[in-house]
């Protein structure tokens, strides 16, 4: 289980990334954030976000049109 959950279902680019970044800013180092999204573009975007910022993408999955990402706050 992630430490925190962020629901950005229904939101489109760039809101999932912006909301996730805002949330990560409030979290302790190494804490984990689960993000729930419906934007298919978020798959590539969260990968790029994590590669660029140095945060760790622990998980990326899809279930019934809902994408779930788990990011560890490492940057």
């Amino acid at each position: 289980m992630a430490d925190e959950v962020l629901d950005v279902k229904g939101m489109n680019c760039p809101l999932p990334i912006l909301k996730a970044k805002k949330k990560l800013n409030t979290m302790d180092a190494n804490a984990t954030l689960q993000i729930l999204a419906t934007d298919p573009g978020a798959i590539a975007d969260f990968e790029a976000f994590c590669r660029t910022t140095g945060n760790t993408l622990l998980e990326s999955s899809e279930d019934g049109g809902v994408y779930a990402f788990v990011i560890q706050h490492t940057a």
Binding site: P14, K21, N25, F49, T52, T53, A75
Partner: protein, 164 residues
């Protein structure tokens, strides 16, 4: 929000002020800032109107021959000539705002607020203020007033420079 470990930087010259044309600069600026870049936006000519306190943005079909709107399962072309019909601009603006809402896309007001929150550096073009008779108090708080040289100095130090 800027540069925690990523010291890269980006600048954007914003020259257009229609509702649809306002999206790319604000989306790229907020996202780059979220990804740790130092971002500067230089608002000049019609782009400067995006800094006005009260935004009243519109979409025009004029000069935008590729525009088509989703309608009843298909797409309706929005030819240039439509712009000559009274009310067509208002209609396309309403259609665009409905699409924005329906698709969970942020409003420009929301993106602009996030731009300011992310500490994106904003330069308002002094010459454009003079040219179109705007006053600094017509604009949101925060912009630096400057000209081409102010922007060029930033651009020489930026990894990415965009003209939109």
């Amino acid at each position: 929000m800027s540069s925690e470990q990523n010291a890269k930087s980006m600048s954007i010259i914003v020259t257009k002020g229609a509702l649809d044309q306002a999206y790319p600069p604000f989306i790229l600026a907020t996202t780059a800032a979220a990804m740790g870049l130092d971002v500067t936006m230089f608002f000049t000519f019609y782009g400067l109107s995006l800094l006005k306190k009260d935004l009243n943005l519109k979409v025009s079909t004029l000069g935008n021959p590729a525009m088509e709107m989703p309608m009843m399962g298909g797409h309706m072309a929005m030819p240039n000539v439509l712009a000559a019909i009274p009310g067509a601009g208002a209609l396309t603006t309403v259609m665009m705002k409905n699409l924005i809402k329906k698709n969970g896309v942020a409003s420009i007001e929301e993106l602009r607020e996030m731009t300011v929150e992310a500490e994106v550096k904003i330069i308002a073009c002094q010459m454009t203020l003079d040219l179109f008779d705007y006053k600094p108090e017509d604009l949101i708080d925060g912009p630096i007033l400057g000209g081409a040289a102010t922007y060029i100095e930033v651009a020489t130090k930026s990894d990415i420079n965009l003209f939109i």
